[in-house]
């Protein structure tokens, strides 16, 4: 007890409370300096950078295919989306055709990992609100989704599955069998999960009008993804700048109204439902055939590319420069960083008890913030 002398928060002027980073559960190290006046937050300063791994630097000088597992680790909750961004960018500039079946498999896996990421977010929300039952039901559903991802790719969290020009392996018949079983039970279970959050009067009262994000702030800070859609603005990379097979599939984009925590919750719940319908359509339409086009001269490529996709947290963009098949520069624009800044605006005017709830409602992945 006496030995502990963590950084003196009193040194920093103007802030009353310091919430230490290591007290945040389950891989969420962000420190918070909070300034209060009459029990209301007037200023907040998140302190991050506890997870800076320097992926962008580590990757430099690597060959194109070798870099994929490193780019995986950028996003801890849905690792397949940074892979996809990387591969899509390279395919666009070097004019590599992707077989149709590979595109379908990519989409299905992306949506599966979107479901798993949103379910992880729901468990966090249940943990913060203190609904024990919902926490465990969310975890149970998430395990089933992860099991499917593992059957397809061979790993639960970090698949290392997408290659330039296709995917690494084909889907096994067992996967499709298990998927049918999962699909039947998931709809029912998810409806039950919804009642825990959206039909519970106390939860709705708690989340309603909490942490409202103004539209002006959202535009200034370049917020994307579900947090923006909660404001009622219909912006989605999957429709605005389609990639893969999203133009062949019909799906809705759920939007909110006010941009408070409840709307964020509703939007993400709706996205899970839409994702299940996308996956079922993708499996229905999936053709037989090749899964990867091999290109011989991958080592002679050089040039610059840019790409962006819709990951569960928002718009993930990458800028890659390649010289003779080796990466010379990689820049990642992660949506969680903007979400963290948006949190520090939305939390103003609320009381201290609600900081945790608002922080989790923004769905921030710290791996992505710090890179």
């Amino acid at each position: 007890m006496e030995n502990r002398k963590i950084k003196d928060y009193e040194e920093i002027e103007g802030y009353d409370i310091y919430i230490e980073p290591q007290f945040r559960p389950f891989g969420f190290p962000v420190g918070l300096y909070i300034a209060l006046k009459d029990g209301v937050i007037i200023n907040i300063k998140p302190e991050f950078g506890y997870l800076t791994t320097g992926v962008e630097k580590v990757v430099e000088g690597m060959e194109i295919d070798k870099a994929i597992p490193f780019i995986d680790r950028v996003d801890s909750s849905s690792a397949i989306s940074p892979e996809l961004t990387y591969c899509i960018g390279l395919e666009k500039t070097f004019k590599i055709d992707v077989p149709l079946r590979a595109k379908f498999i990519r989409t299905a896996l992306c949506e599966l990992s979107r479901i798993s990421s949103h379910l992880l977010w729901l468990t966090r929300l249940a943990n913060v609100l203190g609904i024990n039952n919902a926490l465990h039901y969310c975890l149970r559903e998430r395990e089933e989704v992860l099991h499917l991802i593992e059957l397809a790719t061979g790993s639960r969290l970090t698949p290392n599955f997408i290659r330039v020009g296709g995917v690494a392996s084909n889907l096994s018949p067992r996967f499709i069998e298990e998927f049918r079983k999962f699909f039947r039970s998931f709809r029912k279970n998810f409806n039950m999960l919804k009642t825990f959050f959206l039909e519970n009067e106390l939860v709705v009262n708690r989340l309603n009008n909490l942490g409202v994000l103004i539209e002006e702030d959202a535009k200034n800070l370049a917020i994307t993804g579900p947090n923006l859609r909660a404001l009622g603005i219909k912006k989605d990379v999957r429709i605005d700048d389609t990639y893969g097979i999203y133009d062949e599939i019909s799906f809705k984009i759920p939007v909110g109204e006010k941009g408070d925590s409840l709307d964020r919750c509703i939007v993400r719940m709706g996205e899970i439902e839409q994702s299940t319908s996308i996956i079922s359509q993708a499996f229905y339409k999936m053709p037989e055939g090749e899964i990867r086009t091999y290109t011989e001269d991958i080592n002679q490529f050089s040039g610059n590319t840019r790409s962006h996709i819709e990951c569960p947290h928002g718009e993930l963009a990458m800028e890659i420069s390649i010289d003779e098949g080796k990466i010379t520069k990689l820049r990642i624009k992660s949506p969680s960083y903007n979400n963290l800044l948006a949190f520090s605006r939305a939390v103003l005017g609320e009381s201290v008890e609600d900081v945790e709830v608002i922080l989790t409602s923004f769905d921030i992945c710290v791996c992505e913030v710090d890179k």
Partner: protein, 156 residues
């Protein structure tokens, strides 16, 4: 006189080894394990998973504890960066006398995929003495539970 005293001390020590009290403490230590989790990075998600219904860790009396003062085992998982190092050291010092440390994930073992990076520590073993390693990137939940059960068998 001295010889007598020495004999007495020897007897007491021997008695302590096989005494009921020792057996009881060993039983207690092996049946309820308090773990303080220092998580960062992707491995934290897998630690969340072992609380869940599929890998229910409560079956063996494994509890996750909110402060190192209450814990028997400190579990370091994920990437440890230079910025995180002072916090980890403070936590380790406020930990009790019998310090047991489990390093989970290849990042905590030797830096893992970010071995070349300047920001990342090359494993927890650089600062502290590590008792158990759980390899994998990220390790499966079964592997983490297996490591805890290994620690438990140590008392039998």
């Amino acid at each position: 006189m001295k010889i007598l005293l020495r004999k007495m001390v020897h007897k007491v020590r021997n008695f302590k080894k096989f005494s009921l009290f020792n057996k009881l403490t060993n039983w207690v230590k092996s049946t309820s394990i308090n773990i303080y989790c220092f998580t960062s990075g992707c491995c934290g998600n897998e630690i969340l998973a072992i609380l869940g219904p599929l890998y229910d860790s409560e079956r063996w009396g494994i509890n996750f504890v909110s402060s190192p003062e209450r814990a028997d085992v400190i579990m370091v998982s994920g990437t440890i960066t230079e910025k995180m190092k002072p916090i980890l050291e403070d936590l380790y010092n406020s930990f009790g006398n019998e310090k047991v440390l489990i390093a989970v994930g290849s990042c905590a073992i030797n830096g893992g995929p970010f071995y070349k990076s300047d920001f990342v520590l090359k494993g927890v073993k650089e600062i502290f003495n590590v008792d158990l390693y759980v390899p994998g990137c990220p390790p499966r939940p079964e592997a983490i539970i297996n490591a805890i059960l290994k620690y438990k068998d140590h008392f039998k």
